[in-house]
């Protein structure tokens, strides 16, 4: 493992048997797993290059049990790592050797669907796709659709602020969550947000969404539901160059069109996908665009016409528009299979996730090709073109000595490049451990301190998911120091409002 995690607390390791026994008094005895063989399935999330057995695994069933476990761990100085379905691509749920792994998989009930107010209250272990499945009979669905949506939990989505292919139009998790029930590290249960559109005071819900399990453990989520669009159509467009495709994307948006989805693939990705699922992708194209529009049929038809015109104007070699649901699904088949398809052309791949200003795309892809040559590793690019979110897939073979390290170095170079051109380190996968040490590329020490102090407000002892997101674990006392310039602090007694 090339990422350094916080030093193990030897005192905690020495007390393991007592900790396990204490936890068994707080939850059902069989909900505490301490045998190595049974802990093995929890040793990594979807960033499988990193593995670590936890101290012990606990699977509580109620919010009160979560509160009891956290309260006990807080009182006894034991670290805790929360985990949903374990599909994180950034190591957010990677266990620590001296930490309790708190698994929310038993929180699997949909508690309420309010059709009139278009919301659902669900426990945090419910799978993303299960919400849409349950609400579909009412003509409603939950919009964010990360590629792991069949498995990933809504609680994990809240932690990571997950996106999906439709988020340019429908937003990320944060735009679709109305409230959460949160248990703090101290074991306090608080409701942030709720069923109204906003809440009193500071927007703590907004800061908890995307906090990667560092601020609290979410046990219930109130999500906003949307009416299903009346119709959906897609276009499949091949371009002779990436520049042409990028220009087409910009012109679609400049024409006032916000497609429901707009995906781009480069030549290696097109070829891998086509070989895998035979979706009918044009193999002569350097860049492929899938543009999806939704709404009333009249609107879809008009938008499809407009996008077709813009594609032609930008040198499209081929342009097909779906005339049936089956055809639309075929257009998507290759894109949706891109990751498994790539895993057929290389033993391992490493999926990156930076966002760039879209106008820099041709230049960025060119420099990724150069980096690919320099690191001696192949790369295939899929790209949420509408919002500038790049997913370069770095091809490597973990069995070849040094290749994983080279893949990581290549990945880091790509993310540095994203920041250099005005973008960010992660568009939807989260920082976790994967991009943790790159945070100073994007943020100054003062920027990071302002973020880390939020952590101090929620978890001053830094017991919850430590070692994730922030490269250096400053003590809260040190972060809290106030530097007064040219005078002494004289507020004798501050009003505590």
């Amino acid at each position: 493992m090339s990422v350094l995690m916080p030093a193990l607390d030897e005192a905690v390791l020495a007390r393991r048997a007592q900790i396990v026994a204490a936890l068994r008094t707080l939850v059902a005895a069989d909900a505490v797993i301490d045998e190595v063989a049974r802990m093995r399935p929890y040793e990594s999330d979807a960033l499988t290059a990193y593995r670590q057995l936890p101290l012990v695994v606990v699977l509580p069933e109620t919010t009160e049990q979560v509160a009891a476990v956290l309260r006990w761990c807080h009182a006894n100085g034991v670290r805790v790592v929360p985990r949903g379905a374990g599909t994180s691509l950034s190591g957010g749920a990677l266990p620590l050797g001296d930490a309790v792994l708190l698994v929310l998989s038993k929180f699997s009930r949909i508690l309420e669907i309010d059709v009139d107010d278009r919301l659902a209250v669900v426990q945090s272990g419910v799978a993303n796709l299960a919400i849409s499945a349950a609400t579909e009979p009412h003509g409603l669905y939950y919009a964010p659709d990360p590629s792991s949506q069949i498995a990933c939990s809504i609680g994990g989505n809240v932690a990571e602020n997950s996106g999906g292919v439709h988020c340019l139009k429908y937003g990320l998790t944060t735009h679709n969550v109305l409230g959460v029930r949160l248990v703090t590290m101290e074991g306090e249960i608080v409701d942030l947000g709720g069923r109204a559109f906003d809440s009193s005071g500071l927007d703590l819900l907004g800061i908890v969404v995307g906090s990667e399990g560092l601020l609290g453990v979410v046990t219930e989520v109130t999500v906003r539901l949307l009416p299903k669009p009346e119709s959906v159509r897609a276009l499949l467009i091949g371009f002779p160059t990436v520049d042409d495709a990028a220009r087409c994307v910009a012109e679609v948006i400049a024409a006032g069109i916000i497609p429901a989805g707009m995906e781009m693939m480069d030549r290696p990705a097109i070829h891998a996908a086509e070989a895998f699922v035979q979706a009918g992708y044009p193999l002569d194209a350097e860049a492929l665009l899938i543009v999806e529009v939704d709404g009333p049929p009249a609107e879809c038809d008009e938008l499809v016409d407009q996008v077709e015109k813009l594609a032609r104007r930008n040198a499209a070699q081929s342009c097909r528009s779906s005339t049936s649901e089956a055809e639309r699904m075929r257009f998507w088949a290759g894109r949706k299979a891109a990751f498994p398809a790539v895993s057929r052309i290389a033993p391992d791949y490493y999926c990156m996730d930076g966002t760039i200003p879209r106008r820099r795309l041709p230049e960025v892809l060119q420099r990724i090709r150069e980096l690919s040559q320099r690191h001696g590793l192949g790369v295939a690019n899929v790209f949420h073109a509408g919002d500038g979110n790049l997913h370069p897939l770095i091809l490597y073979d973990a069995n070849q000595p040094g290749q994983l390290e080279r893949a990581e170095e290549f990945g880091n170079d790509i993310l540095r490049l994203c920041v250099e051109v005005g973008g960010v380190l992660t568009g939807e996968h989260g920082v976790g451990i994967e991009k943790r040490d790159l945070m100073p590329e994007m943020f100054s020490a003062d920027d990071l301190a302002h973020q880390q102090r939020v952590k101090c407000a929620f978890d001053p002892q830094q017991l919850l998911n430590p070692g994730k997101v922030f490269p250096v674990l400053h003590r809260c006392a040190e972060l809290g120091r106030v530097h007064v310039h040219g005078g002494a602090v004289r507020f004798p007694e501050l009003p505590r409002f």
């Binding site: 500071l202 969404v209 609107e299 919002d387 979110n389 960010v424 407000a457 040219g486 409002f497």
Partner: protein, 392 residues
């Protein structure tokens, strides 16, 4: 104090820290009469941010606009309109509702208050469109949060926390917004004479359908006319609006007649949402944020003869002018899962009643810990919101 650059903002905050003065952060002051009046005795200086002006970067096809916080909103609106774009949450200049001058609101004030207009019911609120910022915290340190691209999950989402923080955490100096194409066509229709319950049901049915309205409001009797008026808006490409109108008519059936409003009538109604001129001027005005289904019964319990009200966002936002006892109003609103802001009232009432709905104890303590991390000395903690936010 009116600094015209960021380093001067840093200097002013550090000076206040050193001299133990408090600072009231202010844009144009268009919403200044919200909150308790601040007195001389409170040792407060006003730090006005209108000196930080101008658009830093705007690339329409990136859907991203970066602007200095003191820039007047009308200027931004004009710039966006020239590219046929908008801020989708539809900010309202509410100065008129508070006895101020319309047209001076700054983008910093817009973000600091986080108040959205009618399109919020489907398009998200101000916080959903703030991508990043630069700001000076109560520690006298300049820091950035978020980014300048439309999709970003790097680090904590500080832009959400700063939006709607009413100047309690940091002085915003620069803001990056996500902007969207403006609709080609907007058309407004109304249904007359529904009672509040029937109106909520009608709006819920429409909002739950694929018709795709972009505003769903209901004005109680005696506000925009003797009769109640339920209002729906469709926006988009011309062909789309026509198709959606057809679907809307089919959904509502024969029982509910849709009356088309002229552009003038529609803009009059929209103006009323900002000026609140349809509410009584002789009693306090409350902004209630509640689960939409609770709006009809809540208003029935709170409003007495002569109290005027309307609701927006399908019922999720209620405006009520009433002399109802503030304690009773707040307990009724909290009982249904909502909260109430005291929007407009005489100074004496604003001094006595917290502007924001007090939070439950544990949540209030958590909020206070977050606030004090940004402003440990209380430089921005003036008496304005002293009673607000917390149950202490």
């Amino acid at each position: 104090m009116r600094p015209d650059n960021e380093s001067e903002v840093v200097a002013r905050v550090r000076e206040a820290m050193a001299r133990s003065r408090r600072l009231e952060l202010r844009g144009s002051g268009s919403k200044r009469s919200i909150g308790a009046p601040v007195e001389e005795i409170d040792e407060v200086d006003v730090l006005e941010l209108t000196g930080l002006q101008g658009i830093v970067d705007y690339d329409p096809s990136e859907l991203v606009l970066t602007v200095r916080a003191g820039t007047p909103w009308v200027e931004i609106e004009r710039t966006l309109a020239a590219e046929r774009q908008m801020l989708a949450c539809e900010p309202l200049d509410v100065a008129g509702s508070l006895g101020g001058t319309v047209g001076r609101m700054t983008v910093g004030g817009l973000v600091a208050s986080g108040l959205s207009g009618p399109r919020r019911v489907v398009a998200g609120s101000v916080r959903d469109h703030v991508l990043g910022f630069r700001a000076v915290s109560g520690r006298g340190e300049l820091f950035v949060g978020g980014g300048k691209v439309v999709k970003n999950v790097t680090g904590y989402d500080l832009p959400k926390l700063l939006t709607g923080s009413w100047g309690r955490l940091a002085a915003l100096t620069e803001i990056t917004l996500k902007v969207l194409p403006a609709p080609e066509v907007a058309r407004v229709w109304a249904i007359k004479g529904l009672d509040a319950t029937a109106a909520w049901q009608c709006l819920a049915r429409v909002l739950g359908s694929s018709v795709g309205v972009t505003a769903a409001l209901h004005f109680g009797p005696g506000t925009v006319g003797a009769e109640a008026l339920t209002v729906l808006r469709l926006e988009g490409f011309a062909a789309s609006v026509a198709a959606r109108l057809h679907a809307l008519q089919a959904l509502l059936g024969r029982g509910l007649a849709l009356h088309a409003l002229s552009a003038g009538e529609a803009s009059g109604l929209w103006g009323s949402l900002a000026s609140l001129d349809v509410l009584s001027h002789d009693r306090p005005v409350w902004r209630l944020s509640v689960p939409a289904r609770q709006a009809p019964s809540l208003l029935a319990r709170l409003a007495v003869e002569g109290d005027r009200w309307f609701f927006d966002w399908g019922g999720a936002l209620c405006w009520l002018a009433s002399n109802v006892d503030p304690e009773r109003l707040r307990s009724e609103v909290a009982a249904v899962g909502g909260h109430a802001i005291l929007w407009r009232a005489e100074a004496a009432l604003r001094r006595r009643v917290p502007t924001f709905h007090p939070l439950p104890t544990a949540l209030g303590a958590l909020e206070e810990r977050v606030r004090s991390q940004f402003d440990p000395l209380g430089v921005f903690a003036t008496a304005r919101f002293a009673g607000g936010g917390h149950a202490h």
